[in-house]
């Protein structure tokens, strides 16, 4: 039972980490290599604001705001001229962003570990079927459910979501209809980055806040995005939970094989369903 709870918490945390990447790739077709660096920035901002204000919540809000604004600025100033160019321009840009953000973080906070404590409200444990589970892990599961539901409603049920999807499938047509494609794209990139910042702030009490967290995370995120079907939010949820469970079970029965199991899942998927386990073909008229 505890393994299921741990697997769920790992999966939901992974979903929070991968949601921004999935959103940006699915709606804009941009592979954002800087996703991990923005996640790291979110963790550092949450650490700093939390330390200054004594409020974890303020830290989370600041992380979302700053990474969201940064995302909007990056899209408007540097990504926008590159949409019509080959993909490698975007790869180089986002890779460069990793280097810039890492150096900015190193300059401001140094290269040491920073510590973010679990807020008192969730700083306890509950006994569930013979296991002691940190309340914060349950909070992460709950937050993952809330974020995934909101993201689904936003993309599938809201008018703005419809515009985002329309701009994603035929930007020129949306532009002819007089709608601001540039602003829509900027909003999507900004929301994607804000989700990364949120993930960084939520992950900060669980992991060491350090420069290396950017690279540690990005690999897991790409695994989720590939398994879930590139840009598929529902697929990303399912893939996150699948990877979370594989890892949780792996740690219990064969810890030294955890990475091998995770990558085997990825390789198997690429061999059998390269479009992702949860890929849906686009409907045509």
């Amino acid at each position: 039972m505890s393994t299921i709870v741990i697997g769920l918490s790992l999966g939901m945390l992974l979903f929070l980490l991968a949601a921004g990447l999935t959103l940006i790739f699915g709606m804009l077709g941009v592979i954002n290599f800087a996703h991990g660096a923005i996640y790291m920035l979110g963790a550092y901002v949450s650490f700093e604001v939390g330390k200054q204000t004594g409020s974890f919540l303020m830290g989370v809000i600041a992380a979302i705001t700053i990474t969201g604004v940064l995302g909007a600025a990056v899209e408007k100033l540097s990504l926008r001229p590159l949409y019509e160019r080959p993909h490698f321009y975007q790869l180089i840009l986002t890779f460069g962003l990793i280097l810039v953000l890492s150096d900015v973080v190193r300059y401001i906070w140094g290269s040491g570990y920073q510590e973010v404590s679990i807020p008192p409200l969730w700083n306890g444990t509950v006994d569930m079927l013979g296991s002691t589970i940190p309340v914060y892990r349950l909070f992460v599961i709950g937050l993952g459910v809330v974020v995934s539901t909101l993201l689904y409603l936003f993309l599938e049920k809201s008018t703005f979501g419809m515009l985002v999807r329309a701009a994603s499938s035929d930007a020129e047509m949306v532009r002819i209809l007089g709608l601001p494609v540039g602003t829509i794209r900027m909003a999507v990139f900004s929301i994607g980055c804000a989700l990364s910042g949120l993930a960084g702030a939520i992950a900060a009490p669980l992991f060491p806040v350090e420069l290396g967290m950017a690279t540690n995370t990005i690999i897991d995120c790409f695994i989720v995005v590939i398994l879930g079907g590139l840009g598929n939010i529902r697929g990303a949820i399912a893939a996150s939970l699948m990877v979370g469970m594989v890892r949780a079970l792996g740690y219990v029965y064969m810890p030294s094989w955890v990475d091998i199991l995770t990558f085997s899942l990825l390789i198997l998927t690429l061999l059998t369903r390269p479009q992702g386990l949860f890929f849906r073909a686009a409907r045509s008229a």
Binding site: Q114, S131, P134, R137, P208, L211, G212, N216, Y251, V252
Partner: protein, 397 residues
């Protein structure tokens, strides 16, 4: 006409003159700078420690006004990303660019890989942190020296601690890495032969991102001690997540090298009470250390962490030895260092053992405690000093 005897004598004289000329040219061939090639980890699981090492070396160089053998010291740093393959590539590049010595690497796997290159190219190689016992073995590389701890001496301290605390059941978490696996096998053999039982053992990947399942297994076990053979961000992640279920309230957490101020700062209050081998500490009370701590604090405004102290210690010992030889001859530097004694090391007396190129030294064991200013909020307290003869066995060929 020359007779055969005359030809022989003339040839001998020419050969002798050539050798004398060559050796004096070698001694006089003074380069513009003394080049140090530093292969350290600035990214990856040990990325943070690399920066500390760089700072320690910087102090060692500045202390001698940036010069050795009358020329400026030039250091080129390369990041091995905590991986052996980049370490080999970077070391090869540094040697081809004319490095007079190689410093590093950080992880033992990288250091062992770099050793092969320095041995082949006959370049002096200084190791100040990698602890794998295989780095300094009798009949190993003539060119590689370690001035810091071996994993074996740290495991001996950990074993002694386990026995003193009368721990009966041990659960081990080990980074899936040859040096830590070997260390745990040694510990397990000796712990069980002294009456302890093994409650469980898990090998987790280096750079592991989540330990919650492992922590849950340990919490459910009847172990009274948790032996951690982890370091870097792995140990910080483990201790943070163990703290979230209060693991240290029911089990004693200890390991060969699992805590220092840098790691404790990342973990937070959950690090309190963790016991660990210590390679260097700023509180070691001797004149050399006081001088180093003062210089380090003046430059970086913090107390020197473990990796910085070890790097400083090894590099200043090496540079002093090179200076004493007075010649530009790598073989002479190596011979001099192999037989040197550092009376005024920041960790006390160190003696380089010529048979395996390992520095004999005392060992420090300590615990994470609450610090009072100017010490960091969480600091290490030295609780035991192990004499050299308790930590090293004879050097058998």
């Amino acid at each position: 006409m020359f007779t055969n005897g005359k030809i022989f004598k003339t040839s001998l004289a020419v050969a002798a003159a050539t050798m004398v000329f060559a050796s004096s040219a070698q001694a006089q061939a003074k380069p513009e700078s003394f080049k140090i090639g530093g292969v350290i980890s600035l990214s990856g699981p040990y990325g943070l420690l690399g920066e500390d090492m760089r700072r320690g070396v910087q102090i060692a160089i500045e202390e001698r006004q940036g010069k050795v053998l009358g020329v400026p010291i030039e250091v080129v740093w390369e990041d091995d990303e905590t991986k052996p393959q980049p370490a080999v590539q970077k070391a090869t590049k540094l040697i081809s660019e004319g490095s007079h010595m190689i410093f590093g690497a950080l992880s033992s796997a990288s250091t062992l890989a770099v050793m092969n290159i320095t041995k082949q190219r006959k370049i002096p190689h200084l190791v100040t942190i990698s602890a794998d016992d295989k780095i300094t073995v009798p009949g190993g590389s003539r060119y590689t020296f370690r001035t810091s701890n071996t994993l074996d001496m740290e495991n001996r301290m950990a074993l002694s601690y386990m026995q003193d605390k009368k721990l009966k059941k041990i659960y081990a978490v080990t980074a899936d890495y040859q040096a830590t696996r070997d260390g745990w096998e040694w510990f397990k053999k000796n712990a069980t032969s002294s009456g302890a039982q093994i409650a469980g053992e898990d090998y987790t990947p280096l750079g592991n991102r989540d330990f919650s399942s492992v922590v849950d297994k340990i919490a459910k076990s009847d172990a009274d001690g948790v032996f951690l053979a982890l370091t870097g961000s792995d140990v910080v992640t483990f201790l943070k997540q163990a703290g979230q279920v209060n693991l240290s309230k029911s089990k004693v957490i200890f390991g060969p090298v699992v805590a220092d101020e840098t790691m404790a700062a990342g973990v937070g209050p959950s690090a309190l009470g963790v016991n660990s081998g210590m390679r260097y500490h700023y509180t070691i009370n001797n004149a050399a250390n006081r001088k180093f701590v003062e210089a380090y604090q003046k430059k970086f405004n913090v107390f020197p962490p473990m990796a910085a102290g070890e790097a400083y210690d090894g590099m200043s010992w090496w540079l002093d030895t090179v200076e004493k030889t007075g010649v530009w001859d790598k073989e002479k530097w190596v011979d001099a260092f192999a037989n040197s004694v550092r009376e005024n090391s920041v960790e006390g007396k160190k003696t380089m053992r010529a048979c395996d190129r390992q520095a004999l030294q005392v060992g420090y064991w300590g615990e994470v405690v609450q610090g009072t200013p100017p010490a960091p909020a969480l600091t290490m307290k030295i609780t035991q000093v192990f004499p050299e003869n308790k930590l090293f066995t004879d050097c058998k060929q």
